[in-house]
């Protein structure tokens, strides 16, 4: 009897253990195999094994020939630099020869990976797989001087370069509801390029990741040229879509995606940007990469040219004359270049003193593993790998950077109120876009496509960029926050500087552009157009305007008063786009994305919007799970307390409740590159016509008068960078 009972008990235990193990197995298998399928079905993302034509296997003799050629070229280029001072051509030639045979010189210039590959028998570059053979783990050095060993792939996957977003807790961005984005108390939402406020979260990076455009540069009936376009051209994730999995509450990156990462664009000395174009395979469109052995064999320390392959696009712009990537736009399906630039402050020896001094990007942006700091300040809602890491002029230059000029003391004095950039960025490139009209495209004869119309471009102080107080924080729509040290309410940029373009030159230029547009779009009312483009708040009804004013006072004023504000230069930017009016607040409505091919090929923006938002993931955004997961929180930061309205803005194939509007305030983008050695002169600011509007910056009248009339300037001679002053003082000391 008793034994029977015991046996039954044992059986029961075994049964439950078995059930548990079964459940665990089913769960694991389900997560591993079923979840990705469901996920892909739900979001419409594609995952497939990726192949690249440039990844070719070399024979031993080909390898050696290539090795010789690459080594020779590297030595030669280095020797050219080293002998630059030799004026006699023949002597230089001999010196080059000598150098190229000097062992120490060769050791310095040779590509070390050639030998590594030779010994490991690597004859084909197959992406991360090849790199990880040796670099499965890496040592990460942090700022505190510690180091740790990490899995290289995991380290890369956890960077903004790969995932375009972070859910970090330390954004310098504040919602219009006054809450810091993803503060400790808030539900963290993924924030960054992948879902920034420009367009429905995720929109452009999904709907415009890799697109082929049929351009007609030879006229309507001429030959069609296929062109490439999309965000994926710069980003290292090489798949059919951005890293969608990483922004979900759970789920990992599929192996195929990992193998799509382009290591060489950052790590190769000879990466060929001409390999960067859109290709189409059985699964969809994606970006090609340079996976040639040549690129792999020339792996070296990341240099500025690697960074600038992509980042010059955002700094100097595609139209910048020293943009190397823009000069190599593809062997086929050539990439479309963007002619207006977002910031237009290039980082190149000709236009930046640090680039000229040979500084590396990573000298200031010192990486920790694959994570790269972008500083603790920022107006734009851009993800940040190392949000605690300061990237600042003061890190090197100290608080007293002016050492030579006879005005050094007063110049140093300015540092408590002015950012270095304020004086040392004199201008942006001319093609810096201030006002862009997406709603009225213009036919671009040369490219054979319709492009958005840049209504106003300017790179000058007071026109392309203005000066604002900034304490390091920004709003959810990239507006610099800060206040005059007097902390009064007199300074209110969200009601003034950021919503007003009143320079007569700007008004005239906008009017001229509007008249030009009117020829194609007769429905344009020029006066109205100029008014709305230069004073976007005129688009708001008075009750929303009042609400806006109140929101600023209640929610943002305290953020503006935080910390120590300085005057910074800010690039202005505004655009007119289609907006989902169901999701409108006092600071704007949800912008809808455009489908690039439709837009470029037909010039029909509305059709392009309909096409873009038909993308499955955008549709998902208009459904309950995403509303709960992030969109309600997103709208709260956006200043819309009612939450995310999931009414899909298309009805019967037509846009519903969608209107074209200028953003309610201009975005203000930080400009930090394009630094000039010689800064501005006193009289450029301290006169009544100076480039800084002191009254607008919240100074009381009396102080404005002071600042505009400095008695010292009357007999002030140009500052002398004099040795005299210094030596005189030395004498004084000794005395």
């Amino acid at each position: 009897m008793k034994t029977l009972k015991r046996q039954a008990g044992r059986i029961r235990i075994f049964k439950s253990l078995f059930m548990l193990a079964g459940l665990f197995l089913v769960g694991t298998l389900g997560y591993k195999y079923l979840y990705p399928v469901i996920f892909e079905a739900y979001t419409g993302v594609i995952n497939a094994p990726l192949t690249y034509a440039s990844s070719q296997k070399l024979s031993s003799s080909e390898f050696e020939a290539l090795a010789r050629e690459l080594t020779h070229e590297a030595r030669y280029q280095e020797a050219l630099v080293a002998t630059a001072v030799e004026e006699n051509e023949f002597a230089r030639k001999l010196k080059i020869q000598m150098l190229m045979n000097t062992p120490s010189f060769r050791a310095k210039t040779d590509y070390r990976h050639i030998d590594y590959f030779r010994h490991a028998g690597i004859k084909q570059y197959e992406g991360p797989k090849t790199c990880l053979q040796c670099h499965e783990e890496m040592v990460v050095h942090d700022y505190e001087g510690n180091h740790r060993v990490v899995n290289t792939m995991d380290d890369v996957l956890d960077t903004v370069h790969f995932k375009f977003q972070s859910t970090g807790r330390t954004f310098s961005t504040y919602g219009y509801d006054g809450r810091r984005v993803n503060a400790d108390s808030a539900m963290p939402i993924p924030v960054g390029k992948i879902n920034r406020a420009c367009g429905v979260p995720g929109s452009f990076s999904w709907t415009g990741w890799a697109k082929l455009i049929e351009a007609k540069p030879h006229g309507e009936d001429g030959e069609i040229e296929t062109r490439s376009e999309g965000c994926g051209q710069c980003h290292i994730g090489g798949n059919y879509h951005p890293a969608t999995e990483e922004m979900m509450p759970f789920g990992g990156i599929p192996e195929n995606t990992k193998q799509g990462i382009d290591c060489l664009i950052c790590h190769s000395d000879t990466y060929d940007m001409n390999q960067r174009y859109v290709i189409e395979d059985d699964h969809g469109q994606r970006w090609n990469q340079d996976r040639s052995m040549q690129s792999a064999m020339t792996v070296s320390r990341t240099r500025n040219k690697n960074c600038l392959n992509c980042h010059q696009h955002n700094m100097g712009g595609d139209a910048y004359e020293h943009n190397v990537a823009a000069a190599n736009i593809g062997y086929k399906n050539k990439r479309l270049l963007h002619h207006g630039a977002k910031r237009a402050n290039p980082f190149a020896p000709s236009d930046d003193v640090h680039a000229a001094a040979g500084l590396l990007c990573t000298d200031c942006h010192v990486p920790e593993g694959h994570k790269i700091p972008r500083g603790i300040k920022g107006t734009d809602l851009v993800a940040n790998d190392l949000p605690h890491r300061e990237v600042a002029c003061e890190n090197c230059h100290t608080q007293a950077p002016h050492t030579k000029s006879s005005d050094r003391v007063i110049l140093n004095g300015h540092i408590s109120r002015l950012a270095c950039e304020t004086c040392h960025i004199l201008k942006l490139e001319e093609h810096s876009v201030v006002l862009r009209d997406w709603v009225h495209p213009t036919w671009n004869e040369e490219e054979g496509i319709y492009t958005p119309t840049d209504i106003y471009r300017n790179g000058e102080a007071g026109k392309g960029f203005i000066y604002l107080w900034f304490n390091g924080n920004g709003t959810f729509l990239a507006n610099a926050l800060g206040n005059n040290p007097l902390k009064t309410d007199a300074y209110n940029p969200l009601m003034e500087q950021m919503v007003t373009l009143d320079h007569p030159e700007i008004i005239a230029a906008v009017r001229k552009a509007a008249i030009e547009l009117q020829k194609t779009y007769p429905e344009i009312d020029v006066d109205q157009y100029v008014k709305e483009a230069t004073r976007p708040l005129t688009q708001l009804p008075s009750d929303i305007l009042a609400k806006r004013r109140k929101t600023i006072d209640q929610n943002l004023r305290s953020v503006m008063n935080k910390g120590n504000s300085k005057i910074y230069p800010f690039k202005l930017f505004n655009a007119i786009m289609y907006e989902d009016m169901g999701n409108q607040g006092p600071f704007g409505a949800m912008i809808l994305p455009f489908d690039y091919p439709t837009y470029y090929e037909t010039g029909d923006p509305k059709l392009s919007v309909i096409e873009a938002i038909a993308d499955p993931i955008i549709k998902r955004m208009y459904e309950m799970p995403f509303k709960e997961y992030m969109m309600d929180e997103f709208m709260a930061y956006f200043g819309v307390v009612e939450g995310w309205d999931t009414t899909y803005p298309v009805e019967n194939g037509e846009l519903a409740n969608v209107e074209a509007h200028w953003m309610r305030q201009m975005g203000t983008l930080m400009v930090n590159h394009g630094i000039q050695k010689d800064g501005r002169k006193c009289e450029e600011c301290h006169t009544e016509q100076g480039i800084i509007n002191f009254a607008m910056l919240g100074y009381p009248d009396e102080r404005v008068a002071d600042l505009q009339n400095l008695p010292e300037l009357e007999n002030h001679t140009m500052p002398v960078a004099d040795k005299e002053v210094i030596s005189e003082e030395k004498v004084t000391k000794k005395e």
């Binding site: 007293a400 007063i410 140093n412 300015h414």
Partner: protein
């Protein structure tokens, strides 16, 4: 406004003209000199030369009523200031010895004491009044009463003034004063670069050298460096001693039943009442002095009694239980 310059008894007090706003001339100079980062790096030493005059502090300083030109006589109206002007050497006693209302005798005393201080004895050429006292925001933070007249009160009066002890008289925040005074020392002593500039070798680790002092940081916030690092017979607080000579005098402050504790307690109570309002302050006062009523013997005795009580009760209870069982059986 009556300004007490090292104010002694009332007879020494003198009146300065009322200065509500800086004079025009001050204002003129402060346009630049109120800039926080005004300064440059000395080409010889590489160190910072700070030319910032904190406007608020200057307007609150003992020299607030002076015009800039009163001291800086040489050609500073030119911009940039000519190097000839910068050669002018200023010395406190220069001003203070000529005018009887500027307490000349005290300055000579101070000078004497200073010349006995470790700073001057070790590096006479590197130390002057201005090494520690910035004339632009110098403020005598205390009013020292005649020590002979008020025995046992110097300790209090290091930080307090007489009126502090009248009802509602406490106007100043002690920790602010302590911070002000300690800042003078820590400006150099906590700055490795400045120490390095003055003497070879590493700067001493202040935390390590004060390790004997319990709750070191808290003491630094509440007590002035000079409270310990002065000669005991030092009247004018300028004969700074070497670290070895400094006295570790815990009991001077920590004698439990001193009037100072009562005064301090009352002051803190009233302060918190001002801060929180009557009702809240009663609940939220900050006046507990940790372990103030701690007495080791008393504590041990109380434990003993408490233990005996518990033991007794246990025994009694056990007895009851046993007897009860026995009876029930």
């Amino acid at each position: 406004m009556v300004i007490m310059l090292f104010g002694l008894s009332e007879t020494h007090a003198f009146e300065m003209p009322t200065v509500d706003t800086a004079t025009d001339e001050q204002k003129h100079c402060l346009r630049c000199h109120s800039m926080q980062t005004l300064g440059y790096r000395d080409p010889v030493t590489g160190g910072m030369i700070n030319l910032h005059i904190p406007e608020e502090d200057f307007k609150d300083s003992n020299h607030q009523a002076l015009s800039c030109k009163d001291c800086h006589t040489a050609g500073f109206q030119e911009f940039p200031h000519p190097s000839s002007a910068k050669q002018q050497v200023l010395y406190c006693v220069d001003c203070h010895e000529d005018n009887p209302s500027f307490l000349p005798e005290h300055f000579s005393e101070i000078e004497n004491e200073f010349k006995q201080s470790v700073h001057f004895l070790r590096m006479p050429e590197r130390f002057s009044c201005f090494s520690c006292h910035n004339a632009h925001f110098f403020k005598a933070s205390r009013k020292q009463s005649d020590p002979s007249r008020l025995p046992n009160r110097e300790m209090c009066l290091n930080c307090h003034v007489e009126t502090d002890f009248e009802a509602g008289g406490m106007q100043r925040d002690i920790s602010e004063m302590v911070a002000y005074d300690n800042h003078i020392c820590l400006d150099c002593h906590a700055e490795p670069t400045r120490i390095a500039d003055l003497k070879s070798g590493d700067a001493p680790d202040l935390l390590a050298s004060h390790k004997w002092l319990p709750n070191t940081q808290m003491h630094w916030n509440k007590v002035r460096c000079i409270d310990c690092h002065l000669s005991t017979d030092d009247t004018y607080m300028h004969q700074i001693l070497t670290a070895e000579q400094a006295v570790k005098r815990c009991e001077e402050c920590h004698s439990a039943n001193s009037i100072m504790i009562t005064k301090l307690y009352k002051y803190k109570m009233q302060e918190s009442r001002q801060k929180y309002g009557f009702l809240n302050s009663v609940a939220l006062n900050e006046a507990y002095i940790i372990g103030m009523s701690r007495n080791v013997i008393l504590d041990q005795l109380s434990f003993l009694i408490m233990g005996a009580m518990v033991l007794g009760i246990s025994a009694h209870g056990a007895g009851r239980w046993i007897s009860n069982r026995r009876r029930k059986k």
